[in-house]
Symmetry: C2
């Protein structure tokens, strides 16, 4: 049995999320069903991040044990031929036999995209939360820095969750400007950039994330950007963990799982491990 | 009566094209219906480029005569509140009373986006033609340059078209590399760029375009990029105009109307014209 590490991207619209559910299409379910046509039965696919319904991924990582001897590049082609165009396998590599995409992840990076201008975008409407009122980016950036470090994120957990511990460590957290997709599509071709950097992007990298945590942080940062909360309120939420005082959960379609990091040994099996 | 110049963007998927048809949703039809709620009857909206079904626009320009005194910024907000999210009015300005979006256009720029890598993209699947076989970009660039100048483009016209003249002048035509949308979404956030510039973009700027002309040129350039035609074949097509020898018409979803250019006088009414 080989253990394979798959890197994949998906447009989260129309899916119930990463995880297989009783009803609806999930990315895990589609992958397992596609792998079943190769393996003969559906093998269990483990995802690094269990993204919710509507959340996108640029670099989700999954692990799967496979008995079939199909070469990695043929596997990528076969899976992409079976999966819908909104889910693409970018890469498959043989990993250490003990590799587990979720337990071995050392860091994950999420980006939450906010389009902050009067008119929405025909192209970012699926990929960014549109807010017409101007956001105070400096206040948001100051508040985002408070998230860095080890904190109890209980205030930013989905209600009804029962994580054993709500303490997580954030290595980086920042607010960045970025061009909208329409600016990107038009910029190299001479169309006038209508204000470079219409997007406010919250980027956060940490050792783990509670359910709805990034969307809860993004919603709270937006309240700060609108002047309805102060950076001190975020500090208090991290100290006291009262969920009812956090900002609203930002909508799913602005959130991207950007990438997952592992120890190098998990990725390149040495000769002794084969 | 004021004449207003509207700048708009749209995602062409799901539309029958710019022009109102007996069946199906058109951008012109949606705009006229939305304006009717303000004006009391649907005013005729003229578009600079009559984009086909599935073709996108980043900077389409339209003109309309309006009796209602609604301020420009209120008009933009009202239209965007009525239009679907896939069509956005970016701007409305009062123009010279004689301004006509189609007849007064001096140049239009189109971009045809080709994603050229083995795996498709979950994000570019709506906005680029995916071709897995490697394209010879240098050969395509050399051929694209042949398009510049005044030529009879009869070989690149949709069958059944009856344009009075098939001679058009192209001011610029080039092949450019550009990052895919997944590269753009991931790049600022530390995700590994999987080969910068997965896109091959054909950009062309000219005084006018025949129906399907850019898609016919793009299809022919792809044949050249695949080694199935030579740049000389494109030169012969421009000389002899035999449609059956051109490459296939590239699919609509890779094409963008990037922008439209006018004489400055059309845009800024002087005091004598008010």
């Amino acid at each position: 049995m080989r253990v394979l590490r798959l890197t994949l991207q998906y447009d989260g619209a129309g899916f119930v999320g990463w995880q297989r559910q009783a009803q609806g299409a999930s990315i895990q379910g589609l992958l397992e069903d596609a792998l079943a046509t190769i393996e003969g039965y559906p093998p269990a696919v483990v995802g690094a991040g269990r993204t919710d319904a509507g959340v996108h991924a640029l670099g989700q990582v999954a692990s799967v044990r496979l008995a079939h001897a199909i070469p990695e590049d043929a596997l990528v082609r076969a899976l992409n031929a079976m999966l819908p165009g909104s889910v693409r396998v970018l890469d498959a590599v043989e990993a250490d036999p003990a590799f587990h995409a979720r337990f071995d992840a050392r860091a994950k990076t999420y980006a939450y995209r906010i389009l902050n201008r009067a008119a929405g975008s025909a192209f970012d409407r699926r990929y960014a939360w549109h807010l017409g009122q101007p956001l105070d980016r400096a206040a948001m950036a100051g508040a985002a820095r408070l998230v860095v470090g080890t904190h109890d994120f209980a205030a930013f957990q989905a209600s009804g969750s029962a994580a054993t511990s709500t303490v997580r460590t954030m290595f980086d957290a920042s607010i960045r400007a970025a061009p909208g997709l329409d600016e990107v599509l038009g910029a190299p071709f001479g169309s006038a950039a209508r204000g470079a950097g219409d997007l406010v992007v919250f980027v956060v990298r940490g050792d783990g994330f509670l359910r709805h945590m990034v969307r809860g942080l993004a919603g709270t940062l937006v309240e700060i950007g609108l002047g309805r909360m102060r950076p001190d309120d975020l500090a208090a939420l991290l100290r006291e963990g009262r969920r009812e005082e956090a900002g609203p959960t930002a909508p799913a379609h602005g959130l991207f799982l950007v990438g997952v990091e592992y120890e190098p040994r998990d990725l390149k099996p040495g000769p002794e491990s084969r």
